[in-house]
């Protein structure tokens, strides 16, 4: 493969990333010396116990938190110049937060349409597109409700719809389905995998669920706490498209076991 072509497919390049919150005796090292490169269209999960810096890593990539050391590049553009973020570098990024972060002064469909509104899409078109995406995540009956009137799971779906409505090329998801029941979670995972494959979206997913990580990802990054760091990267060699039956297979079970092993080694 010619060098340039490979360079062209490089989507994310995290190198030597360290983040320390505070200073002196109360300083917390949220992530230490993390390296991660991702190709376009790759699906990577960050798997690790609470407090091992998953959210922090995601926020630095998204341009929300500046790194203490190290660099982050998206398509060759540095996200951070010291502590100054580059808006241009993070333009392809869409992010879904651990909390739904919907705005109570908008209805569900207006919340979902907000990214389009900010991008300058006209009212009629953005509401059409938002409505369509709401329907795919099962919010059809709730379009004109206020977010406060929704259950936690419904809010999380609306938040996912908002993250997808701009058809982003780079999707950062922070425990998106933690609050959902197993069945809805399966359904939304399939939907998510579909969207990502169809549009060749590069995705980083933070999750606590080992089987979710194994099922969705091309690669699982295992993190360990104290000090927070990356301890393993494991490829998930399952063919795509994947269906729920994959989770019953021996190979899948074996992979889940291996991931569990790696996780406990980090403790």
């Amino acid at each position: 493969m010619p060098f340039d072509a490979r360079q062209d497919r490089m989507e994310i390049n995290v190198s030597g990333l360290t983040k320390v919150f505070g200073d002196g005796p109360s300083a917390v090292t949220a992530i230490k010396d993390a390296d991660l490169t991702m190709e376009r269209g790759e699906f990577v999960s960050l798997l690790g116990p609470s407090g091992c810096g998953k959210t922090t890593l995601l926020r630095i990539v998204a341009g929300l938190e500046s790194p203490t050391e190290g660099t982050v590049e998206i398509r060759g553009n540095a996200v951070w110049n010291g502590t100054r973020r580059s808006a241009a570098a993070t333009r392809p990024v869409s992010m879904m937060f651990q909390e739904a972060r919907l705005f109570p002064w908008f209805t569900v469909v207006e919340n979902v349409a907000l990214p389009l509104r900010i991008a300058g899409v006209g009212r009629k078109e953005r509401l059409e597109r938002a409505t369509a995406i709401c329907e795919t995540v099962g919010l059809k009956e709730f379009l004109h409700h206020r977010p406060n009137a929704l259950s936690g799971g419904m809010r999380q779906r609306a938040s996912l719809a908002r993250a997808l409505v701009t058809e982003p090329q780079l999707l950062l998801l922070d425990e998106p389905f933690g609050a959902l029941d197993a069945m809805t979670r399966d359904a939304l995972n399939i939907e998510l995998m579909d969207v990502c494959a169809r549009a060749n979206v590069t995705t980083i997913l933070v999750t606590h669920s080992i089987s979710e990580a194994a099922f969705l990802s091309d690669r699982v990054v295992v993190l360990a706490p104290r000090p927070a760091r990356i301890t393993a990267m494991i490829d998930m060699p399952f063919d795509r498209p994947r269906g729920l039956e994959l989770q019953q297979s021996m190979a899948f079970q074996k992979m889940v076991g291996e991931l569990r092993q790696k996780l406990s080694e980090g403790e």
Partner: protein, 256 residues
């Protein structure tokens, strides 16, 4: 009886009892009518008064002063609150003045404003604005400062420009708290206008009250007070309605 009827009936009954008690007390205790006229005398004075053109002219003057002062206070309070919330050094620089102005009883500045702005409408508008400014300003400052960091992150990710941030995020998140401030402010604006009229000039309900006092027309004085209360209530209710309709999103409701 249902709770609903009780909620209407009980206040009506308590008010009636109060008025009857008042009337009875004035008659039996031989209180001078100059000190406390019976409620029916006040009612008669009130009915006569509302039929005169003069009263409405005075009322219009007071309302104009209070509302203008209120609007100035709202405009200034929100803009200064926003600027200081956004640019902390501006707040730090202004801090001594803010603290000082907060400590001074603003009403003590009223004679000064009459001196500077004359006996006409302007001085009363300034007094009303000076009194109404602080609740709007301090609520706006606080509200704009406490926009959720997580909500700001969403707008950062969406690459919103400052104008979009302002009207899609800052204003709607701050609005309920600001409107609570304006409810207090409108009452203070009324007080400012009336006190200004007490001190100087020959227009407005405050002036009318003083004029009746000097003529010892006590029932008329009471009637003016009643009208002032009504005007105050009207303005307060208007703002309250506005606040409710704007902050409807704070109660979970699908029709709002």
């Amino acid at each position: 009886m249902s709770e609903r009827t009780l909620k209407i009936a009980l206040p009506a009954i308590s008010v009636c009892l109060f008025l009857v008690g008042w009337s009875f007390y004035v008659r039996t205790a031989e209180v001078s009518a100059f000190v406390l006229p019976p409620p029916e005398a006040i009612l008669v004075a009130l009915i006569e008064m509302v039929q005169t053109r003069e009263l409405w002219d005075h009322a219009l003057v007071t309302v104009t002063e209070a509302v203008s002062g209120f609007l100035i206070a709202v405009g200034l309070g929100i803009s200064l609150g926003f600027i200081m919330a956004r640019i902390p050094p501006v707040e730090w620089a202004a801090k001594p003045f803010i603290v000082l102005l907060q400590l001074i009883p603003k009403i003590a500045l009223a004679p000064l404003f009459i001196l500077w702005f004359g006996f006409g409408l302007e001085s009363k508008i300034v007094i009303a604005a000076a009194l109404a400014f602080f609740p709007v300003f301090s609520n706006a400052l606080q509200a704009f400062k406490s926009v959720e960091p997580g909500d700001k992150d969403v707008f950062t990710i969406l690459q919103a420009n400052p104008v979009q941030r302002f009207y899609l995020l800052d204003v709607p998140s701050a609005l309920p708290v600001i409107l609570t401030g304006t409810e207090v402010a409108v009452v203070l604006a009324m007080i400012g206008a009336i006190v200004g009229e007490f001190i100087g000039g020959n227009e407005g309900l405050g002036y009318l009250a003083v004029a009746h006092l000097q003529n010892l027309a006590v029932p008329e004085l009471f009637a003016v007070i009643v009208i002032l209360a009504m005007v105050g209530l009207l303005l307060y209710t208007l703002i309250g309605r506005l606040r409710q309709s704007f902050s409807a999103w704070h109660v979970s409701s699908e029709t709002a």
